[in-house]
Structure formats: C-alpha cells, structure tokens
Symmetry: none
Subunit: 414 residues, 2 copies
C-alpha cells in the first residue's frame, strides 16, 4: 500500500508553525508497513488543494490530509475532497449532536459555521474527535482511500490511535498480518548514550527497534509483524527483554505513560504523599503532577517560593541560611524540602532552586545551575545539576530530573 | 515570483526527523515577498525526485531543494537537477580545493565519494558551505531558478543568510517589493466569533488579514506588500486600526507577545506584585508566569492548594466555608485570593478552584466548572466559567481566563 500525506494550511507554508503531525503520522504508517512516497504541504486554497489531491490519488492508494477541518471560511478540506471524488456534502446527524452538546455544555451560542464541521462527503465514515469539535472522515472510493484528520496535534493523535490505526491495520496488513508496537521510555541518559547501549539491536528486522528523542527523554519504539497479536507480542517481549537488560532502570515506563504518571501512580500505590517546593521550576512540576488524573490522592500542595520572603514565610527557610549560602545552594534546596515536610507532614518533598536565566547567572553560579533537595523517610539530600538550553528548557530539564529523583528513590526503596 | 520547496530525504518521510528547514525557509521567502504554493517532501529516490522537480518547474519560477548533497550513494539531488535541466555534471575546482583543504586540516584521508560533493551542473553557480563540505548551487535556466541547499540546519542557515537572501533579494524584489507581517493576538472570544467581527476584512487583497486558532486564543496575521518597509507598515497600520476597532480589548498583544508576558510586563510597569492561589490549574499559571524572563520582579509566590488542608494551612480559607459551600465555589475562590493577599501583602492575587476531571463532576458541579477569584486594590470578586475539553485543556483554558481577568482589570484601572 502506497500513501501520500497532504498537510493543509497557509500558516504551515508561511513557516509560522512547524508540522509535527506529519512526522508522527509517518512513523505510524511506517510501523504499519505502508510506504509514504510524497508528503505535500499546500495552503488554504481550494484550487491548489484539489490539484494536489488529484495528483496524489493518481499515484497512491491512500491519501491522508491533515488540517482544514475548522469552522472558518479558510477550512475547506472536506468540501474539496468531496468535489474531487464527485460527492455531495451531507450533514452527519451524530456529529451534529456531538457539536450541539459541546456548545450547550459550555452555555455558548452555536454559530452556523460551527455546524459546518458536522458536514461530510456522502459516503464518508466520520471519526469521532474525543477532544475538539471537528470530526475526521474516511472515504473509500474507486479502490482509493482518503482520510481527513484535524490539524491540532492534541486532536489528531487520539484520532489516529483510536480510529485510524485500527482501520488501517486491517486494510494494510490484510488478513493474516498484524503489526504491534510498544514504546519504551527512557530518562536520565542522553540519546547517543542510550542508542550506544542498544546499538546492535537497531539492525534487527522483525521486530524492529528505533530511537526517537523527546523532550528530556528518549523513546524506543519496538514494532513486530506477525500473523496474530499474540505472536507479535511474543516477538516484542523477546526484544524488549534484551533492551531492558541494556537500559535497566533508565526505562521509566512504556507507551502512554509519562514520567509524572509513573511517579504519581507509584506514590499512590505506596500510600505516600507528595509536597513540592519549587523556585526555578516555577510551578512546572506541580503542573505536570496535576496533569495526572487522580493525582489529588497523593499530591497535597505545592509552594512556588519565587521570592526569598516566600521561602521563609511558607517553608520556614531561615533567612540567614539564604544570606550565608545564597538562594541557589544545596543548603537552601534541602531546607525547602525539609520546611515543606514540616509544614504539611508529607512523606516525600522536593525543594528545587536554581538559575533559569537568561539573567542572574555568574561565573560561580551560572545560568542552568539547579540544586534539587529530596526529603524522604530516609532523610534529606541535595543533588547539583547544570542544564543547558533556554529558560524554558532549563525549567523542563530540572522538572524531569526532580521527578526522576523521586522515581529512583521509590525503586531503591521498593 | 512563485516558489516551491522540495525537502529530500527518506528519513523525513519516515518521520525520523522533523523538518525545521522548510518552515525557516518559508519565513525567509515570505519576507522577500515570494509566494510559496507547495512544499513537497520526497525520499532519496532519483525517479520520484525527478518527477517532483519537473512538476515544480512547470508551476513555479523558483524551486528550492533541501538535502541530498552529501557524499553517499543516497545523495543524488544535484545529479537529478542536472538531468532534469539537461545539463552535464562538472567538477568545480574551487569547491574541490575547499574539500581537499577540509580533509587535510583534519589529517583525514579523502575518499572519492567526498570529491563527488564538488560536482555541479555545468552552468550552476556554487555557494560556499561555511560549516560543512557540501557546497550549494544555483542554476538559472530557461527563465527558471533552481537552488540546491544542504540538509543539516547548521549548514543550511548560514548559506541562506550569506548567499541565498542576497541573491533572491535582487531577483525577487528587483522592482523593489517587500512583504511585512504583523500578528494580532486575541483572547476571551472564540475563533468563529472573532472572525465574524472582521469578516468583511478577510477578503482584503493588500494588506491581507487571516485568522489562526491557537491554544485558548486566536491570532490574526496582517501582511502587506509594498515597495519599501515604511509603505508596508503604513498599509498594515490602516488595516490594524480597523481590526482594533472591531476586536477592541480582545486584542491582548502582537507578534511574539504571550498573554503571560503582557500581564507580567504590565504588572512590573505599574509596580504591582502578584501572588497565585491555584487549585484546579495545579501550578500552570505560576509556570506560565515564570516562563517570562524578569517575572521575579512582580511574582512573589504561588500556592498550589490541592488539598482542603492546604487551603486552610497556607491560605487561611476557613474550614467551615469549604464545608458549607464546597471547595469548588465562588466563596472559596474569593477566600483563596483574600488569604493569599493577607499572607503576602501582594497587590493582585488570584484564587482558582474547579473540577478539571475526568472524575469528580456531578450534575450540579460538572467537570469543567471553574471559579476564579480576583483580588485587587478595588476589592475581591469571583467569576464562574464552564470549560470543555480534556483535563489538560480545562487547566489551560482556566489559566487563560485567569490571566485575562488580571489583564482586563489592569486595562480598566489604567
């Protein structure tokens, strides 16, 4: 099966945003054994989109469009697909109901343009959007398949995982072949070093293993083809075991797990409570922890002590400690963690203090210097880190390191 | 002048790397007033690259290829360009000298494949590579221009800045034309409603105005072509004024500004201090505020009061208030803001409490219900919101609404 991908959006052509959907979708198609020969980006222009669709349909079995499903005049992907395939646009009652309910729940007036999103080419099969109001659609016509997906990655990815992959697995792999993937997530080691550890496995043919560098972590996707799911899982298990022998505790989770979800679930399971005292990460760790549903079962409170006074008022960090060692010091990091524990009685507390930049650095204490204090029932200790990158990257890496400290303590203590 | 861009590389089609070159080049071309109608990604395959080049040359005046200039067998961009344009490949003595010197300096043996990089289509003008060994090339033929650039961004960008921009400025702007853009950022109104307000302006030809829906906000890009920058800015100013008359205070900023940067800078300018009391947003507002360099000049502290006890211990919210009205209530939102102010003496405080879901909702208090308490020198008030979407989107929208409350209070008070 040959595929082409068409990203639709003038903002893409103008370079205003980087297309991360297309690479994601490419890895999905590649894992399904579907070859992508061309990927085209075209603006919000009906004539050029139609020409692109016609060319793609003349060369490929499967054409996937990304974007242009919104409510505005600019959004014309579904209409153009219908036109090129010689179909009428019809209202999909189920999608209409979902969109009306979406607006009613929020007490908002619905505009005619919002209902436009419920239209689909007449023979199209709508795909529900679990996050936004724009449903996707699959049209099969004259031996070709056209799939239209929404542009926002937060809407596209769940639709691909829930609707597109099951649909294409069956189409692409035909009767007796399934493709199953599993992602190993790795933290606390760089991409090159992680790759070095599994170097000889990278040339494996079935299952395959391929690295992908994420934000502050590395992911390895293991994919296996087999005649049924059980066989594929067995193949994966074999390679996963080898990878685990090499990467050990650097692997924090698999598939949809995040570092924060792994930490939160481990804390809940162990009936331990967490309190955060954040200075340079500015609330990012609390934000990530509270992104995990159910985190209120372990996370009691976070203190973003951005001023010295907040460190004394809310965390009882002695003023003379700050005066003697500086706010960015192992002593203050430990005192923040200890103060948070004393105030709340939490089992595990973190104290994070550092220089996120761009200003505030010195030769002795450069931008990127971050001390992380961790207090557990075993006691309190501080680790020193120097992170590179922008202000936002330093915050991200510090948050990643702090969460990883909790994770590794939980492993050692298990 | 119409352009197409061709990114060459199987690793791009497989999704192994994200193409950041093409967006960068798009902004460069857009600034030069060169319209990009199509951007195509194709693998390391001579036949498909040749077909793509022929199609692009039939539609565009300028075709820019990215990648495929390396020494390996896979790298066949220059040869394919020569073939499509009916040219021979010849050795460029200057490039050969540079490559030989590069290897000598490093004490490395030079391979025949490395010298291949010094080959160019016979009428091509080589562009020096200040970083690597692969020179770029410009070929002018039959009224068309083909420019071949190396794939690594660290090699492409200096070549674009030093060679391509000067060359194209002269070609494209010849009859002097520049294109200037400005982005208006809008919050507190939905995409459809915002677009409705400027509907008649969307058909404007020069300058143009086009909407783009971001996360919890809408952006309008105004772009003008003119013979010089001053004229373009005047055109933009005219349309911007009309858009501002329609959108008024929904416009929070322009270009690189973020809602948090606008709020932080306005607070600093007015010498006002900020303290946050967050429950359902879980630290996200503090995280966004502290993403702004210099935010420590206004932001003193944040309390993530994720448990009822944290609300009483750190914010002095009376326990019976929580018992009587529930933690998610306008009374508690106000009490959180008041407690944060009493504890810290901050001028402006926010108290945010709600149900981010997926659990914890009821008929009376559904998932997405969020109360935001704002305390200012004028007094304390709470607003009720019901947001849709996932847990993470509800947090994002609540943070957006809370920051927007501070912004609009600052406007009214100005």
């Amino acid at each position: 099966m040959r595929a082409e991908m068409i990203s639709v959006g003038t903002e893409l052509l103008l370079g205003q945003i980087v297309d991360t959907n297309a690479p994601y979708l490419s890895t999905v198609l590649s894992a399904l054994g579907i070859d992508v020969y061309y990927r085209i980006t075209v603006g919000d222009n009906a004539a050029r989109l139609a020409e692109t669709l016609r060319t793609a349909l003349s060369r490929a079995d499967l054409v996937i469009t990304i974007g242009g499903l919104g409510p505005t005049q600019d959004d014309l992907t579904k209409e153009t697909i219908a036109k090129v395939l010689g179909e009428q646009m019809v209202m999909d009652p189920e999608s209409e109901k979902v969109i009306r309910a979406f607006f009613e729940r929020r007490g908002l007036q619905i505009a005619q343009s919002n209902l436009k999103q419920a239209l689909k080419p007449e023979t199209g099969m709508p795909m529900p959007n679990s996050v936004g109001t724009a449903p996707g659609v699959i049209v099969e016509k004259a031996g070709k398949i056209v799939i239209a997906l929404p542009g926002p990655p937060g809407e596209l990815m769940p639709m691909v995982e829930k609707s597109v992959i099951p649909y294409l697995s069956q189409k692409a792999l035909g009767a007796p072949t399934v493709l199953v993937s599993r992602i190993l997530k790795v933290v606390g080691i760089g991409e090159s070093a992680a790759e070095e550890k599994v170097k000889d496995l990278l040339s494996n043919r079935n299952p395959t293993i391929a690295p992908y560098a994420g934000a502050g972590e590395v992911q390895f996707r293991i994919s296996a083809k087999a005649s049924n799911r059980e066989e594929a899982l067995e193949l994966i298990a074999g390679l996963e075991q080898k990878a685990r022998e090499r990467l050990g505790e650097f692997i924090y989770g698999v598939d949809e797990e995040t570092l924060e979800s792994v930490v939160v679930h481990a804390l809940i399971e162990r009936k331990l409570t967490l309190v955060l005292a954040e200075s340079c990460t500015g609330g990012l760790i609390a934000h990530r922890v509270t992104n995990v549903p159910g985190s209120s079962n372990t996370f009691l409170a976070g203190i973003v002590s951005y001023s010295n006074r907040a460190k004394s008022d809310f965390l009882d960090v002695p003023e003379d400690l700050i005066y003697t060692h500086g706010a960015v010091s192992p002593e203050v990091a430990e005192a923040m963690a200890n103060g948070a524990a004393a105030r709340t009685g939490a089992d595990i507390t973190l104290g994070v203090t550092g220089i996120a930049g761009p200003g505030g650095g010195s030769a002795e204490k450069p931008v990127g210097l971050v001390y992380i204090g961790l207090r557990t029932p075993d006691g309190t200790s501080a680790t020193k880190n120097v992170f590179g990158g922008s202000r936002i990257e330093i915050k991200l890496r510090a948050a990643q390191a702090a969460l990883n400290l909790v994770r590794t303590w939980l492993l050692r203590d298990a």
